[in-house]
């Protein structure tokens, strides 16, 4: 049985960096469980001696010449950024400041 508990979904949401509301946790644990029940049907197939496919048209060693091609300018790369400072992406702090919360 592939029932996904509300606690498991809370954990997954943390791993995926998506805040889910109480309502979403209630609703989606049911929805995702139902989908998991259905897709778990793949486990009925005997795949013991089968190799997995990660790419439908097999290619090996795709290289390119080691030459510089056109790249985005610093200005272009920053045009879509939510916050910029001194020509760089401005990122929120990684840790809470001491004494903070």
């Amino acid at each position: 049985m592939s029932d996904l508990t509300r606690d498991q979904l809370t954990h997954l949401a943390q791993l995926a960096h998506v805040n889910l509301t109480e309502e979403e946790l209630d609703r989606m644990s049911g929805e995702v469980s139902k989908i998991l029940d259905s897709v778990a049907k793949v486990q009925e197939v005997d795949t013991k001696h089968v190799m997995p496919t990660s790419h439908p048209i097999a290619l090996t060693n795709v290289y390119r010449d080691d030459v510089v091609g056109p790249v985005l300018s610093q200005h272009e790369a920053l045009t879509g950024a939510p916050e910029v400072e001194a020509g760089q992406f401005k990122v929120p702090a990684i840790l809470h400041a001491e004494g903070d919360r």
């Binding site: 997954l12 989606m28 793949v42 197939v45 795949t47 048209i57």
Partner: protein
């Protein structure tokens, strides 16, 4: 020729008239914007195929083509055959100068700093870009109802969905707002909307068309392809956009220059056509199945050999797909973190980068994106990855092997494209699992990387269009076009007119578009 007549031509006919000078590209492009103004409307009324219109730039490109043609000389001779014929682009393909949102709030108003390779190709060939078309958020859905910017309505019946995820491109082409459009197909996002709107859509062989600049959904399955009203138009657009691109490492070195030519050979005698044992009868609506049997009779009368073939693992393809896709989605959508582009949401009182990310993604993603991220995160998590993602990848191998064996006996496989005609808006919104079933026929081609097309196969319940799905082995795109074109000609001969001329008149919207 009047604007209303111009827009009903095929893309290749438009190109012919532009060369002959019957009308100019500016007149043709204006005619399409006029049509958009009449029927496209807004999220609240009309078809609502477009999220953004690109009128000034499109008219400038059209004027440039006209000027080159008027001047004559080598530059005019070197124009691409489709130069001056307008095109619409699905809004998950990035474009300089036009916002690209993938129909997600997280990218609202985002102006990409670069063009997708297919967009560069289209600009180089001088096709005026009309605008960007609606889709399910990040191309995840089968009805276009999961767009963050409102639904697209089916031009055949505005109360029904146009299919998805590329409902905007299909509806734009079906409603004569564009002769050509680009779509992307991960599990049927070009072909299912084609079936629902009475249009033509191809998913090329994986690697035929560069995906550089396509916002990735499930990278081992995504492929860009043409959306049109005829098979020949699809082949012509496919030829334009196909070819190796060093910027996409999955891109193939194969030549794709015989696709249009293939549509001129309409001889079906001796062509081996397979019908899958696993897709017999049940699962399809009664009228769709009946219509399909009539088509098979047409094919037999035309000299094709119709046989039944067996692919025992095909019934598991849908289940494998809905494990592989969320897994790849959870990884691909990790890039939307509110740091380098897209919207950022800061929790009340501020927060760390991790808290900002979680708040940004909570506000930016819709329900289906969140569900798939959760499913994928689960399917890839320690302790479950082999039982879920790993098993799905092994089932994928078995599906590919089944299809390879089938293609030892037949040239192409055909079936109806969808189990039902277009659903009513709202009918599947509460039930993700039932929406997933729309893709049961189209998914195996993505798993196997093989070419597949949906062409109009007549009408069924409620006089809505049904699609006919034709797929062949990897890199046999020309064969798929040849057979599709032959079947299209048979159906047209039987009806006495092209399928798109059977579409009902699209109601005009009240207010002009702002």
């Amino acid at each position: 020729m009047s604007p209303a007549e111009m827009i009903r031509l095929t893309a290749l006919e438009m190109a012919e008239h532009l060369r002959a000078g019957t009308f100019t590209s500016v007149e043709l492009t204006r005619a399409h914007f006029e049509r958009i103004n009449q029927v496209d409307g807004t999220a609240d009324e009309g078809v609502h195929a477009f999220l953004h219109l690109n009128q000034d730039e499109a008219l400038a490109v059209a004027a440039e083509v006209d000027a080159i043609r008027t001047a004559g000389g080598p530059e005019a001779d070197e124009l691409h055959p489709l130069a001056g014929v307008p095109i619409a682009i699905k809004d998950n393909i990035v474009t300089i100068g036009q916002p690209t949102t993938a129909a997600s709030k997280i990218l609202e108003g985002w102006m990409p700093p670069y063009d997708a390779t297919v967009v560069r190709t289209i600009r180089a060939a001088k096709l005026p870009i009309l605008g960007k078309t609606n889709l399910d958020e990040f191309a995840m859905g089968s009805t276009t109802e999961y767009s963050a910017y409102g639904v697209t309505r089916n031009p055949w019946d505005l109360n029904r969905a146009p299919g998805g995820s590329g409902g905007g491109s299909a509806a734009a082409v079906g409603a004569f707002m564009a002769p050509l459009a680009l779509g992307s197909d991960t599990g049927g996002s070009i072909r299912e909307p084609a079936a629902f709107t009475g249009t033509v859509g191809t998913k090329p062989t994986y690697g035929s068309v560069s995906r550089y600049g396509l916002i990735a959904m499930a990278s081992s399955l995504d492929q860009i392809g043409p959306v049109t009203r005829t098979t020949a138009d699809a082949a012509a657009l496919h030829e334009l956009i196909a070819g190796h691109d060093p910027k996409d490492s999955t891109s193939l070195h194969t030549q794709w220059n015989t696709l249009l030519e293939a549509t001129t050979d309409q001889d079906l005698s001796g062509v081996r056509i397979g019908v899958l044992e696993e897709f017999q009868g049940p699962g399809f609506s009664a009228e769709i199945w009946e219509k399909f049997q009539e088509t098979l009779d047409l094919l037999r009368d035309a000299g094709a050999e119709v046989t039944t073939v067996d692919c025992p693992h095909i019934p598991y393809a849908l289940h494998a797909y809905y494990l592989i896709v969320p897994s790849e989605v959870s990884s691909n959508l990790a890039r939307f973190d509110g740091i380098r582009y897209g919207n950022r949401v800061v929790p009340d009182g501020g927060g760390t980068v991790a808290e900002v990310m979680a708040a940004t993604r909570a506000a930016g993603f819709g329900d289906e994106a969140k569900r798939r991220i959760m499913l994928g995160t689960f399917a890839l998590s320690a302790g479950y990855v082999d039982a879920y993602y790993g098993t799905a990848q092994r089932v994928r191998t078995l599906v590919i092997q089944d299809l390879k064996h089938a293609f030892e006996h037949v040239d192409v496989l055909i079936s109806p494209t969808t189990p039902t005609v277009a659903v009513k808006l709202g009918d599947q919104l509460e039930e993700p699992l039932s929406m997933y079933l729309n893709d049961v026929v189209t998914i195996p081609a993505n798993l196997a990387g093989i070419p597949a097309i949906s062409i109009p196969g007549g009408t069924a319940e409620h006089d809505m269009p049904v699609g006919l799905h034709i797929q062949g082995p990897a890199k046999s795109d020309a064969t798929v076009y040849r057979v599709a074109s032959a079947i299209e000609a048979l159906i047209e001969a039987e009806q006495g007119k092209p399928f798109y001329d059977r579409a009902p008149e699209v109601p005009q919207v009240q207010g002009a578009r702002s």
